[in-house]
């Protein structure tokens, strides 16, 4: 990882650290406080009936953590998983409490300071799709970084998975 590309403190607004990563041609950023660890790719165990972008689960020091492919989540072209493919393990806060999960990305770039005054709102994309998981756009070293709200992007989905499968309990005693 290269040295921190620090954005100068502007007047007003809070500054916070963001981990940026690359996906295709775009750079995305997530709040560094949500990042648990960064690890290399290892084979996952598939889980049945999961949405296609949920690749499976991994053993993360004793707990079972689902792995999400962000390329598939954003409908990007699928990339091969190689030894240099990276998984960022993050935690989200859902209505059901804290949950950990990993996202597969092309590569991790930097930890940068972002001043909230510099963050521009994401443009409305209209019918093209919901953008409420975008916190905004910020320009860092001439590159546009898309800031993600992972609670909205992933947390809601995880809650939905936990909820939808929880249907009516069946009569267990149909002897």
């Amino acid at each position: 990882m290269s040295a921190n590309a620090t954005v100068e403190q502007q007047h007003g607004g809070e500054s916070r650290q963001v981990l940026t990563f690359v996906l295709g041609n775009e750079t995305y950023g997530v709040d560094i406080l949500r990042v648990q660890e960064i690890r290399g790719w290892s084979a996952v165990t598939k889980i049945p009936h999961a949405p296609p972008h949920v690749l499976g689960v991994l053993n993360l020091r004793g707990s079972i953590v689902p792995i999400v492919d962000l390329r598939m989540r954003f409908a990007l072209e699928r990339a091969e998983y190689t030894a240099i493919t990276v998984i960022i393990v993050m935690s989200v806060v859902t209505s059901a409490g804290r949950r950990d999960f990993g996202v597969v990305v092309d590569g991790v770039s930097d930890v940068v300071d972002v001043n909230s005054a510099e963050v521009k709102p994401a443009p409305e994309l209209g019918a093209r799709g919901s953008t409420d998981y975008l916190l905004g756009l910020v320009s860092i070293a001439e590159r546009m970084v898309v800031l993600l709200d992972i609670d909205r992007l992933i947390g809601r989905e995880l809650t939905a998975i936990a909820g939808s499968e929880d249907g009516e309990p069946m009569a267990a005693d149909a002897a």
Partner: protein, 699 residues
Amino acid sequence: MTVDLTQFHDAFFEESFEALDAMEAALLKLDIGAPDPELINTIFRVAHSIKGGSATFGFTDIASFTHSLETLLDELRSGAMAVTDQVSDVLLKSVDVMRAMLRAVQAKQPIDAQRVSDLQFDLEVIIARKHAAPPPSAAPQAAAPQAAAARWQVRFRPYRELLARGNDPLRMLRELGELGEMQVRIDAQSLPALTDLQPQDCHLAWTIELSGEVPEEAIRQVFDWAEGDCELQIGRTAEAAAEPQVEQPPAPATPAATEPAPSETVAAQADSQAEGPPEAPAATGAAASAPRAEPASKPEAAVSAHGDSGSIRVSVDKIDELMNTVGELVITQAMLSQLGGQFDGPQAEQLRAGLAQLERNMRELQESVMRVRMLPISFVFSRFPRMVRDLAHRLGKQIELKLTGEQTELDKTVLEKIGDPLVHLVRNCIDHGIEPPEKRVAAGKPAAGTVHLDATHRGGNIAVEVSDDGGGLDKERILAKARARGLIGANDTLSDAEIYELIFLPGFSTAEKTTDVSGRGVGMDVVRRNVKSLGGKIEVSSEAGRGSRFTITLPLTLAIVDGQSVAVGSETYIVPLISIVESMQLKNGNVSRLSGQAEVFSFRGDYLPIIRLHEVFGVEPHTRALHEGLVVVAEGDGRRVGLFVDDLLGQQQVVIKSLETNYGHIEGISGATILGDGSVALILDVPGLIRVASMRIAA
């Protein structure tokens, strides 16, 4: 200085509930007429410490109720009042009410004020009645020897700045109260008029009479922090003067209403044998926890033993963390062993010996950690004496409860979930099983029926038996009821076992009239469902006129399961051994298709459906030809199916990990586990899998 007291609430609730259990146990042991003074002391201590705690935390309702209770207990302790059936009933009810109040406060729910004030009224009536008619003269004498110990007099006069320096006299007094029985007199003389009162200043002083074998050092320790902020005199008094007991003020700076208790309360307590020297200083540690009256007291005083049982309280989270770490270690160790096997050279032998040693130690470590989660089943059994007593009372039956194997240990989670099913079973035994006394005598049996609860280890399982010597299950009535409900056809002939099975059907209840004890028709099917959800089973046997026996078999722990690993394509799944009947290879000829879709095969004369795991889970298998793979015959919810897999890998104990923590529930999967190479394998939930598969076929 303000301290956030809410951080202590959990500990207070937990300790109070435990203390109430101890109080209940002591009450049940209390003999009417000739009570053991040590038991009464135990009961008194519980009421006293709950009263103190709830006053500190501002739970005034509880404090007020326990105060009334304490007054009554004090009468009993002093022998001024005899323990009668009525008193023991009211005290037991008080335990319930206190428990309910504590639960309500804990859940931040309103307290059932009506129930509390009704009982408080009862308590006060009993106390008042005693004052109207003095008790038989035998009583005071009997209770006299109980506190044959020295008395300390402590004069505690804090300087004004005591509070400002962060000391709380109330807490010191309470700590003193834990050393022994204590009477406190407050000196409020220097208290200024309300208008001049500085809330930061302490104007009160106390004189404390402390009885019991307390070393002086222990008393001094209480005031350690206040040294230099108060005048302190500690002296010995040879005989206790009858002091008017004074209510402790709720907060030291608040001028408290003092209400002297009836003086005879204390008078009766004056003991003439206050000569006993204090215990040797070596016993400081023991004295700090709880003073026990005298070595002369019977060994069965174990009721109050939870104070010095040599155990510590640890949160389950910490143990789970420990288990996780140990699980990881086991995986690492497996990896190393594998690696070590590949080494050659002069030191390879040594390396392998070391690795073998490591493996043994790891296994022991894992077992020890697992045992930490185990608790004796007496935690569940202990609620039954009370329940049986109450039920027998209400139903007019005579019942003797026999408990055996109480020390049998099982996992805490299993323990928590087995309580309710057992309560159901015991209720059923008492309500339906045991006959009324006259009927029993007519049948040549003793008037008192016996309900027997027994727990034993059987292999990797625990078996809990609930049996009674009552009338047994009435086959005719069960059949009639089942026919009336349309559960079976009018002409079906059933074996005895099949008839007994009927009582587990939803909506079945044989009680001729519905009582509030049982008979809402939700009993046995819920019992069975709960037991099954724990991975156990329940069986019943019965003999007309001799009684019935329910046997619940449960796994010792929910954290580990014996599993068979199976391969489907590149995935590995774990099938719990308890679900497996057998595994077999199918020949081409013995598979048929029903209406062109559902595949079935013949197994011991039955036709079982085949569930292809690769289809259900969407995995690419090595083979789709049934005769090339294997079929695992598995059973769930009384149904058998054949699970088609590529291959069997091996049997092993696996640690169950939740998928729900970070993901969600998956139909047909009960959890996941981590294999020796660190990869994750899913554990099959056979009953769930059967449901999924049958829905797929129906769709």
